[in-house]
Amino acid sequence: MVSFMRLNLTHVLINKHSKSPGFAVGRFPLRVLIAACGLVTLSSPAHAYIDPGTGGMLLQLLLGGVAGVLVIGKLYWLRIKEAFQNIFGGGADSEESKDSNSETGN
């Protein structure tokens, strides 16, 4: 069983006052910029025939322009945040948040 967290930037945008530590990025300028772009479409992922590869997918986002750069920035930001949470005792919250946003697959 594998659980995974979905990075849904629309979720970030809509849930301004989310208590979820995973998305509580109130001061992060990302959502402001995305709002300016008007990107509020909810999406459901279509599945690929082959594994598109993490680097391959993210690079295409990056080449896609400003919005893609922001997604990558967001991913790095989440990583930094997670590191800080682990150092300063936020690890438990982080796990909880992961579970609350998780889907279960096999």
């Binding site: 990075l7 629309t10 690929a48 082959i50 391959g56 997918m57 080449l63 991913l75």
Partner: protein, 464 residues
């Protein structure tokens, strides 16, 4: 019902390749049949076939071709037969590059019609009728607005990185592709490049950044796919990426710096008279044996393959040197005979069976078996260069074809002397008498002709 499913065709649940009564078919799932009918109706398949990008393919009713009882659904796809399938590790630089460009061209044209390729493996392409052609019709899928190009990373691993490795570093890619059926992983490739190469524009983009992102996030649980739609990722972004890749590929240069054989035609040891004798001998041998298929072992840039191509159905020209096979491929592409198949292959270490159950990709010998072989100026490379005893050399030639032409190169020959110049001569059994005895065990020697003042002998061999 005698359906022979291709053991290498199992990954796509939408359809499998099989052979029935000498024809090549592909099963189609209900959804795949619907998609293919749409592609026929809107003229996509015909357009791609007309441009020479896609192998001849047509939809046929299962009952119309005698497959009503096979439980394969109403419709199957019939493909042109590719008599000898060669693999990317057996292609030369320009063959792999052309295969890449065919894939990109197909994708570009597909996107114009709201279509996508669902994968981008080099195994979707084959050398057929003198050029690289796409044959995995089921890879042509509907495009979902906002989705990324799923095959991008695979395209890089199987096409772009091997070609960059050869072009930038001067390292031939064939052994790398033989070692891995899924190409060169991005992080591995990034480690292979020097700092200077990493500063090149396309390398920064497709290698350095991709590797960095892959390294940073491959182990995260984050689902990224939905971000594409959210971020309004769109078709023009894929089109731009594809156009950029195409431009990058076209700019890659191929210099066969270390090729031993690339210049063989102008540096070999034949006098004009001996060369004429040899050509006549080979020409007459083919008239005598009248084979429909010939394999030209150690065929160099294909001079003898070209000589006999008009007289036979097919010639497979196998050579160890990728530079020679590249030259041969260019000659074919630029108007040469389309029934010559160029193959990079080492007889001392032929492509083994590879992949799942060792049946996904077939070994070289299984694919190149022919009615006749040419082994011209080859035996000394196997026997002295490779330390293979003469009986084994003859046994293997016989395994590849039951008749043919072989050239004996005596120890006194200048080429053999050069091979022995720095080694101990441990080849006491390397004599014409031993060779002739071994030949006679498996073939009938119809005639022999001497060249090089007796240092070489051409032998015409019939089945025994």
């Amino acid at each position: 019902m005698d359906l022979q499913f291709d053991p290498g065709s199992f990954k796509d649940p939408d359809g499998r390749i099989f052979e029935y009564q000498g024809n090549i078919y592909r099963t189609l799932s209900a959804s795949a049949a619907e998609r293919m009918r749409a592609r026929v109706a809107d003229g996509t398949l015909a357009a791609l076939i007309d441009q020479g990008l896609l192998i001849d393919s047509e939809l046929v009713g299962a009952s119309d071709v005698g497959l009503a009882d096979a439980d394969l659904g109403e419709t199957v796809m019939r493909h042109a037969r590719i008599p000898v399938l060669t693999y990317p590790s057996e292609w030369s630089f320009d063959m792999l590059r052309d295969a890449a460009l065919v894939t990109l061209d197909l994708l570009q044209q597909g996107l114009e019609r709201d279509l996508m390729l669902k994968d981008a493996t080099a195994f979707n392409v084959a050398f057929h009728d003198g050029r690289m052609k796409f044959f995995d019709t089921l890879s042509i899928d509907d495009y979902t607005e906002g989705a990324p190009w799923d095959g991008y990373a695979q395209f890089c691993r199987e096409f772009l990185f091997p070609l960059m490795l050869t072009s930038y570093r001067g390292i031939e890619f064939q052994p790398w592709l033989r070692g891995s059926l899924s190409g060169i992983p991005v992080r591995t490739f990034a480690r292979l490049l020097s700092l200077r190469e990493k500063l090149r524009g396309p390398v920064v983009k497709h290698v350095v950044l991709q590797a960095k992102l892959d390294r940073s996030f491959a182990d995260t649980d984050t689902e990224m796919r939905s971000s594409f739609k959210t971020m309004k990722f769109s078709k023009p972004m894929i089109v731009a990426n594809v156009a950029g890749l195409s431009k990058t590929l076209r700019k890659l240069s191929y210099e066969a710096g270390d090729s031993v054989w690339g210049d063989y035609a102008s540096s070999h040891s034949y006098s004009a008279e001996d060369a004429t004798t040899k050509r006549q001998f080979v020409d007459q041998a083919v008239d005598h044996l009248s084979p429909s298929t010939v394999v030209d072992l150690g065929g160099n840039i294909g001079d003898y393959s070209f000589l006999v191509a008009p007289k036979v159905d097919r010639v497979l020209c196998v050579d160890i040197d990728p530079a020679c096979i590249n030259t041969l491929y260019r000659r074919i592409r630029d108007g040469g005979p389309t029934n010559v198949v160029p193959i990079v292959g080492d007889l001392l270490n032929p492509t083994p069976a590879l992949g799942w159950n060792l049946t996904e990709r077939r070994d070289l010998f299984e694919r190149i078996r022919s009615e006749s072989f040419f082994a011209l100026a080859l035996v000394h490379h196997l026997a002295i260069g490779g330390n293979v005893p003469l009986p084994r050399v003859v046994e293997t030639l016989h395994r590849i074809a039951p008749s043919g032409v072989v050239e004996w190169v005596d120890k006194q020959d200048a080429m053999v002397q050069r091979m022995l110049r720095n080694r101990t001569d441990v080849f006491a059994d390397y004599t014409w008498d031993v060779f002739r005895t071994e030949l006679e065990r498996r073939f009938n020697i119809v005639k022999t002709v001497e060249t090089h003042d007796g240092a070489r002998r051409l032998c015409l061999l019939e089945p025994r």
